[in-house]
Amino acid sequence: MSQPLTTSLPLTWSTGAAATEACLHCGLPVPAGETKFCCPGCSAVYAVLHDEGLEGYYGQNARVRKPALLPRPKDFTYLDDPAFRKLYAPGGDGMDFYLEGAGCAACVWLVEKVPQHVPGIASASLNLGRSVAHVKLEPGGSFAPAAAALERYGYRPHAVRSHEAHELILRENRTSLVRIGVAAACTLNLMLFAIALYAGMVGVWERVFLGLSLMIYLPVALYAAAPFYRSAWGAARAGKMAIDIPIVLGLALGTAAGVRNLFVPGYHEQIYFDSLSMLVFLLLGSRYLVRRVQQKALDGANLIRQMTPPLAWVWSAPAACFEAVPADRLRAGDRVEVRPGDVFPADGIVMRGESEVSSAVLTGESRPLSIQPGDSVLAGAANLTGAVEVEITAVGAESRLGRILKMVDEAAARRTPASAYADRIAGRFTLAVLAAGAATFGYWLQRAGLNPAVNHTVALFVVTCPCALAMSAPVAMLVTLGRLAKHGVVVKGPETLERLAVSHRVYLDKTGTLTEGKLRVASWQFSVGGADEREILAAVRAIEAHSRHPVALALTSDITARGVPAFPAPVEVREIFGRGVSGLIHNVMFEVRRAEDRWLPRENDGQTEVEVLRAGHIVARVLLADTLRADAAPAVQGLRAMGCEPVILSGDGVPAVQAVARVLGIADARAACSPEEKLAVAEMDTRCVLVGDGANDAAALAAASVGIAVHGGMEASLQAADVYMTRPGVSQVVVLIRAARETMGIIRRNLAFTAIYNLAGAILAVTGVMSPLAAAILMPLSSFTILTSSALGARSLR
């Protein structure tokens, strides 16, 4: 393990007894006694903050925030490499860093203090929503000390490439805001003049107010409403129906008729500028809000793509040592050293060293594989036990991982874009309004003449203008998306909710989704007459202390939880290739190795059996298993209760998958699925939901009707999925589907309201009773009813 930081404060942490106190740094529960911190990370950051005079951090409104990982002294000099700075700091003096673990007001305070404690930094500010800090240099300054300071304070900084897409989004938001501002100002002023006119203004002032109404309406019609014209034109050209088309129809007719009526004697009152302006304002406003929520969700996934790729240690002949280099600069033929705990940066062949690797994220296979010189390894696999030197054979797009990612992009491109609910309704709606309009015109033409006919028809179009219809779906979804985000479920787009509501089958990955994804000790069996139990446990812990193998981690955490004190460091810890480790403690040979029947690991129900030997005799047996998550069983029941059939789709071996399926009562469980097989299943089933985490799920997530990426998953999955969960567990899937169905219910309720209002308005207009005053009252009434009905939101999320 890494070197512990030396400080004057106690570096003790919890041993698993009942919690009574709070960690001094993050506030999470800590067992009573000497311990003051919950983990080495918290105690290290506490020490750093006190050493640097920043204990004011705790005075600010600090929320519970555990540091991402134990802060290690890291080498950040690559940040100031000119080639790197050209990519990541195009402005020259400013760079963005994504900070792991930045989450509260106190973090904002802390980041802003960096310039005071690090020379050469002009300013540092934190964008809380994105967890991105912007660091600006003084002339001659460098980024490395700032990044090092952030790492010391407990945030792991990742440099983020400034993305033109993000700049575009910012600019688009600002323009939208300007349009909304103009529409709002004009609407308010128009309403002011309209009230005077409705109250019966006469004489010269009537003409002045009418003229002013037109003038103030022009910015709305020509500038603020421009996005509607553009999208309606785009849809019409593509031959598709969109809700914007009837909106533009109503706007255009209302404007034309209003302008005309100003000059027709006797019809001065028939102008609808105030209603139309309010319509534009409400529509722009609701769309802006929906877009902001959506952007927030997408931003999280995109940030991951823009972060620096991890570093790789490449052999550099001139320096005669391994140097840190960003992984995307590797080329075939380079020799890299991959230490235990690191991930292989590219496909390659082992040149030196032995180890065990886990390809769980790539294939879903939970068992580690042994490798020795001559074996090939894949990019993305995790190196567990020993350092190896690898000669690279395939980088980036050529590697297996790269090809999987390409599959993801292709699957995403193949998916037909879903049309929004409102757009589907738009067609029938427009037809109905046009028919009613033609009938109205015809009737009044033969009854009273051209002018009444025109005006009553225009009144009909204005009052049925689908403001409420266009808002009903987006606003309801907006509320749901926001509430789901608070529950830790991030949905990237409103259409996903529609698809979730109609889904009928849920494909669940096993490793990491239904199970914890790591091995845990199920039971210990000590042989009678063997050595003292605690001595055995201490010995096992001492031997396995430095391995990152899942078995080692499971054993050490279980033994630590039992409160066994550590043994002195064993001499000669050696690996039994492919089976386990051995070590000498006080000159007695202890071995911890996998139990095998004729070279094949013994399987009981998918559990791994490990034996402990002391001086050649078996003194204990341990059974380890990947435990089911606590919420898996209730989640599966919940899914079934909602009519969604759960199916297991896993890349892991048959016995493990069967064991889980049996416990959860799932009839359909498919094991040993390759990424291609998962993709095929997802593409075939058009109403399914797919839940997964590893790279082997990414392509299927992109292709599925709704793809849900689980917490802790690979970046590729988070990018490819429509939904990602920021908290571990499957229970959120049930919450999500229920919320989606309730939201669709709310939307249907909203549509019912809209229909009633539109019908009432249409009747008034057709019978000639509709006046601009009536329209000015009816339209906001319908809009606010919809808004209130949507704001209450899904009952299950309240």
Partner: protein, 55 residues
């Protein structure tokens, strides 16, 4: 009613100034980040240190 000849243009002028300020602020990015400013108001300022006082 004559006062309207004066008030009307004045109020329209005010409106336009308000809109102009709003546009300037929006284009300068005042509303890009809606989350951080909400948290920043919770941050306490530095205690004022007077002559001869130690904290």
């Amino acid at each position: 009613m004559n006062v309207l000849w004066f008030i009307l243009p004045l109020s329209l002028l005010f409106s336009m100034v308000a809109v102009a300020v709003f546009i300037k602020a929006a284009l300068a990015g005042q509303w890009d980040d809606l989350d951080t400013p909400a948290s920043k108001i919770l941050i306490d300022g530095e205690p004022i240190r007077r002559q001869g006082e130690t904290k």
